[in-house]
């Protein structure tokens, strides 16, 4: 199907895209664009995970806190993330800080909410038993609450990983001096169509790879959980 378009300018044959992929992404593009993108992604994602769980667990434990913060979080979450980009640039410029903060802001919510829901759903009997046995809070947290919430947290982590990838690309297209999104846009503007396509394919591969990776981690670390065992 692809080669039917082979002579169209906008849809170059796959072979020349692969050639471009080789020369760009396995050449200078790797260090100049791919590595900065991925390291921003990793830093932001790590912060979002840490903060998300750290805020989500207390929220899950306190219904009052959920009710106070709920509407504000709902509103931020309902705002389409790309709409926040212009304001983020006004505030923070186009550096790494802007990109990392906006990715954290966007990808924290699925993690935070799933952690809160997961903790809130722990059966009250289980918590009462923990209290009866006078299990200290840190043990309750690490042995009872977090494991019980982990299937949900993993689902949130998975949603966030894709969101974070989307936001990395968007923020680099919006304002940047390097990165995969930036490279794609520059290739487009200089009409280097095979190079542009090679970037699109790279992002596809990253998205697919991230998905596979999370599926694998989830199956490994949740192997005790019935939803995984049943498969």
């Amino acid at each position: 199907m692809w080669s039917a378009h082979a002579d169209a300018f906008f849809f170059p044959p796959l072979s020349s895209i692969f050639k471009a992929f080789n020369s760009v992404w396995l050449g200078p593009g790797l260090m100049n664009d791919a590595v900065p993108s991925l390291s921003r992604w990793a830093i932001a994602y790590a912060i979002a995970t840490g903060l998300g769980v750290a805020v989500g667990v207390p929220l899950g434990l306190s219904p009052t806190a959920r009710r106070v913060l709920g509407p504000v979080m709902e509103f931020i979450r309902a705002t389409p993330p790309p709409a926040i980009l212009p304001i983020a640039v006004i505030l923070l410029g186009i550096g790494d800080t802007m990109k990392i903060s906006i990715i954290v802001l966007v990808s924290i919510f699925p993690i935070l909410i799933s952690a809160a829901d997961g903790v809130a759903e722990v059966h009250s009997t289980v918590r009462d038993v923990a209290k009866t046995y006078r299990i200290p809070f840190h043990a309750e947290l690490f042995r009872i609450l977090l494991p019980a919430a982990s299937p949900r947290i993993f689902a949130g982590l998975r949603t966030s990983s894709t969101l974070a990838l989307v936001m990395i690309v968007l923020s680099e297209m919006f304002g940047s001096t390097n990165g995969i999104g930036y490279r794609i846009l520059v290739s487009l503007r200089s009409f280097s169509i095979p190079e542009m396509w090679s970037g699109v394919i790279l992002i596809g591969l990253l998205g697919y790879g991230i998905n596979l990776f999370f599926g694998w981690v989830e199956r490994r670390s949740l192997s005790w959980h019935h939803s995984v065992r049943d498969e």
Binding site: V68, A78, F174, M196
Partner: protein, 268 residues
């Protein structure tokens, strides 16, 4: 956010205090923002106090530009959702009913699904330019997958007993599709639809901001470039309102279509 309902939420005074806490949270957030901005704790050139933004919204909301851009964004969004559902639901019904097709198409579909629509922005711009078509195409691409995946799950999760009953009564393929499969799959399709409605708003506004397709997103950019930060904030907050309204609409559609269902699933 799926809230866990308190056990005795039926008691009216408890409900009232819930709303009170909700309002207190919102008011608190606005007040903190106002305070931080007025005292220059946050640089007020970049973060105007919410009262300024509110005044700006009350001016702008009377202008034609405000509603024209809102109309453009929403009509593109609606077009994308309609086209996306029209492709994804029938395709999902077919793929879900045939084990052979499901296995054959699973891997390529998984790959396509993993490509975020934003990656296709340049490609679409090349072919269609900065037109509404380009935005709609991206949004359709983004919103097909959740609906498709949910529909396939839904069809595959239909109770085999129901199918056998349909066969036993000899109501035929179209009859069983209409009276058994589609009703049983509707909750799944609607779950997909609510994910997709958010995703396609993201894609529409994203393409407006990156490419400059006319709509609320491009107005944010116009305001930013002309240096009127307050207007940029006004439009940004407006996108949040649009997001909320869309989520509410989809939820009430869901509640309406699933009113025959036992409460648990309808509440999703």
């Amino acid at each position: 956010m799926t809230r866990v309902a308190p056990v005795n939420s039926a008691r009216p005074n408890l409900r009232l205090s819930n709303i009170g806490l909700n309002v207190a949270g919102l008011a608190g957030a606005v007040l903190i923002w106002e305070f931080a901005s007025r005292t220059n704790l946050l640089p007020s050139d970049y973060v105007p106090p919410p009262s300024f933004v509110a005044i700006e919204i009350s001016h702008e909301i009377l202008t034609q530009r405000w509603w024209l851009s809102t109309g453009r964004t929403l009509s593109n969004w609606l077009a994308a959702i309609v086209i996306g559902s029209a492709i994804a639901i029938p395709l999902g019904l077919v793929l879900g009913s045939s084990e052979y097709l499901y296995r054959a198409f699973r891997v390529p579909l998984e790959f396509l699904r993993a490509v975020p629509p934003v990656a296709l922005i340049p490609v679409v711009v090349l072919v269609a330019g900065a037109t509404p078509t380009a935005g709609i195409f991206l949004a359709v691409y983004g919103c097909i997958w959740p609906i498709l995946v949910q529909t396939v799950y839904g069809v595959r999760a239909v109770d085999p007993m129901l199918r056998q009953v349909a066969v036993a009564y000899g109501i035929g393929r179209s009859g069983s599709l209409r009276h058994v499969i589609i009703p049983a799959t509707t909750p799944y399709i609607l779950t997909g639809l609510s994910i997709s409605s958010a995703l396609s708003l993201i894609a529409i506004i994203g393409s407006e901001i990156i490419v400059g397709i006319a709509g609320v997103g491009s107005e944010i950019n116009v305001a930013r470039f002309s240096g009127s930060t307050v207007t940029a904030y006004a439009y940004t907050i407006w996108t949040g309102v649009l997001g909320l309204v869309i989520a509410l609409l989809v939820n009430s559609l869901k509640a309406y279509l699933l009113r025959w269902q036992p409460l648990k699933e309808a509440q999703l």
